[in-house]
């Protein structure tokens, strides 16, 4: 089989039944999603996704551009709420709490599910204030010394402390792109989230900065649950334990990373990882 046209793909999805592999986990699931549909106005972007994210695992989501992987990621901490025309259906639970429940406070949710974005987006403030931003707005500390400690720990966990410890009061925008992205990771972990969502965190970085972020992801997985969207299959293979393949808004296949990259079951997954399209 050669490259698929969209019509052929539509035919493939005509008789769509379910995802190949094991999208759900018996126990050990931190976040669960069931039958998630996402709409932008009239247009449906995500079709009935069931997917679990296990405790302390790194789940990679891959797929061609426009397959909905970033959209899906942004439903997990309700970042899509900031887009007027976006609607989400289905159930998403975090540790048993329905995050789209009326009683769920989105401020609280985003403190539990942090997010790192595609382009490093440090605030135009000092390095210290960037990391202290989250703890301050959530009132996590009462004394300056505690805040200092949180900032230092977060910067150390993001393995950027040694580079910035002497210039914490300088503007964060003066850092290099890779340092900015690690600072953004430090900013996220400063509020001690349970889950960290990463939306192509290395796509704006050079290879060396990328390698450092990947190392960092491996270290962070000891304490955090991480879901990462990536364009790079190599990156998914290097950092993740489980991989989910999305195509045209559907979750096509999910499984252990080794298995997905060596013996994919679905034809579309195979075509993608062997580079026939994407």
């Amino acid at each position: 089989m050669t490259t698929n046209t969209n019509d052929e793909l539509a035919q493939i999805f005509e008789g769509w039944s379910s995802t190949v592999g094991k999208p759900t986990l018996k126990d050990n699931a931190r976040m669960t999603t069931r039958g998630v549909d996402v709409f932008y106005g009239e247009k449906q972007a995500i079709f009935g996704v069931d997917l679990d994210i296990g405790k302390n695992e790194v789940l990679a989501m891959i797929g061609p551009s426009g397959c909905g992987k970033s959209t899906f990621l942004r439903t997990l901490n309700r970042m899509n709420d900031t887009i007027d025309i976006c609607r989400v259906k289905g159930d998403i639970h975090l540790d048993g709490d329905n995050i789209y429940d009326k009683k769920m406070d989105v401020v609280n949710l985003r403190a539990r599910v942090g997010m790192v974005f595609q382009k490093p987006n440090p605030f135009p403030k000092s390095i210290y204030d960037n990391v202290a931003y989250g703890p301050r707005i959530h009132g996590l500390v009462t004394r300056k010394a505690e805040l200092d400690e949180i900032v230092e720990t977060a910067l150390q966990k993001a393995s950027i402390w040694n580079e910035v410890k002497d210039r914490l009061d300088q503007p964060a925008t003066g850092l290099s792109g890779g340092q900015q992205q690690r600072l953004c990771i430090a900013r996220t972990i400063a509020v001690s989230p349970e889950v960290i969502l990463m939306d192509e965190p290395c796509s704006a970085l050079d290879p060396i900065a990328t390698a450092r972020i990947e190392e960092l992801i491996a270290e962070l997985s000891e304490n955090f649950t991480i879901a990462i969207v990536t364009h790079s299959m190599q990156q998914a293979a290097r950092v993740s334990s489980r991989t989910a393949y999305f195509h045209l808004g559907r979750l096509v296949e999910v499984g252990a990373t080794d298995k997905i990259f060596t013996a994919p079951e679905h034809r579309l997954t195979e075509d993608y990882i062997t580079g026939r399209f994407g």
Partner: protein, 462 residues
Amino acid sequence: MTSSSLFLLLIIIVAAVFVLGRKRSVDVAQSVGGIRYLHSLPNYYGLLAAAWAAIPGVILLALWSAFQDVIIQNSVFSLLPESYQALSGSRLDLVWAEIYNLQKGIITEASDPAFYPAVEALNNLMTTSTTGRTVLVIALTVLGGVWGWRLIKPEQRARNQFEKVVEALLLASSMIAILTTVGIVFSVVFESIRFFHKVPFTEFVFGIKWSPQIAINAEVAGSSGAFGAIPLFVGTLMIAGIALLVAVPVGLMTAVYLVEYASSRVRSIIKPLLEVLAGIPTVVYGFFAALTMAPKLKGFFEGIGVNGVSSESALAAGLVMGIMIIPFVSSLADDVINAVPRSLRDGSYGLGATKSETVKQVIFPAALPGIVSGVLLAASRAIGETMIVVMAAGLAANLTANPLEAVTTVTVQIATLLVGDQEFDSAKTLAAFALGLMLFFVTLMLNVIALAVVKRFREQYD
């Protein structure tokens, strides 16, 4: 030939040179194998030749028009008897006006027969000048055109050279605004110096009494007038301050609401309505302030037991002026808040910040330079506003800190000083220029301070 027909002729010549130059470039291209072997496209050769024709002619025309009056006037005056040549500037102007009118035939009889030779000379000079101008300008234009036309060769770098011409034109345009400003400043400065010969600088700057009425003859009491500008500046600052107290918070909050909170439907209704507010003429605001706001305020304050409320008050003028500049502040702030990158908002929301935390801690600091410059524009608008104050705050130069009293402002005084028949060398009229100079200086200082503030607190996000 009149100026306008000469100008029309110039345009025709230049257009002809363009067509001929373009044609010549196509012709010379034949010898080297076609247009593709020319350095530039044929249009550039035509444009460059046209520039050669137009620029020298236009410059000559401009210089001639600028200096012909002065030169003619001087040579005419040299024919007058000694007694006239010793006259002061304004008297000499009168003599010149009479000679000019005699030459035009507007008056027929001269007050002094000595003027007739001068009129005769003026007549001759003007004829010579007009003819000379026409001939020289046309000759120069044609010569320039021929020169530019002859220069056309396939290897001529016409495109690059014409770019230089365009650059020079753009520079000249930007100079017009700058030179005009310089000219205004100088004229104000020179008139002010004349004023400070009559009234000491220290009295003007530190004096606390403003009463510029100068009696017609010296016997009338209070003939000297008083030119202390402090009451005017206090009044200006009070009214502008009240206006900004209204406009800045309301305008900023409007902008934040429109950008961060309002749905696109609400936004599409409110924005045009705000723009209507900006389109109301200030005179209308003025009578709203005078006829509605001031009596209501008077009634309100008398109702709560405050006595001595003036029916024309700084408060009424300031409040209405504040409402007038709300759209200013809000639309400028709206633009800069919109310009804050979405990624910064996402970063803040992603950490669990609420909308108001995001606005206060991320968006405002990032948008600060733009907001400050918007507020400054609003401030200069408030300081320069005249109509509302004339109608609602009165003309009495009271030195007071009480916003319920009548005050007056610098711009209002400038307007009243220059309205009507005035002698242009009395201290009263010249005071207007001194006030203008001070006002210019104050707004300049405001700008400098604000720039320094912005530089100090600026937070870069690019």
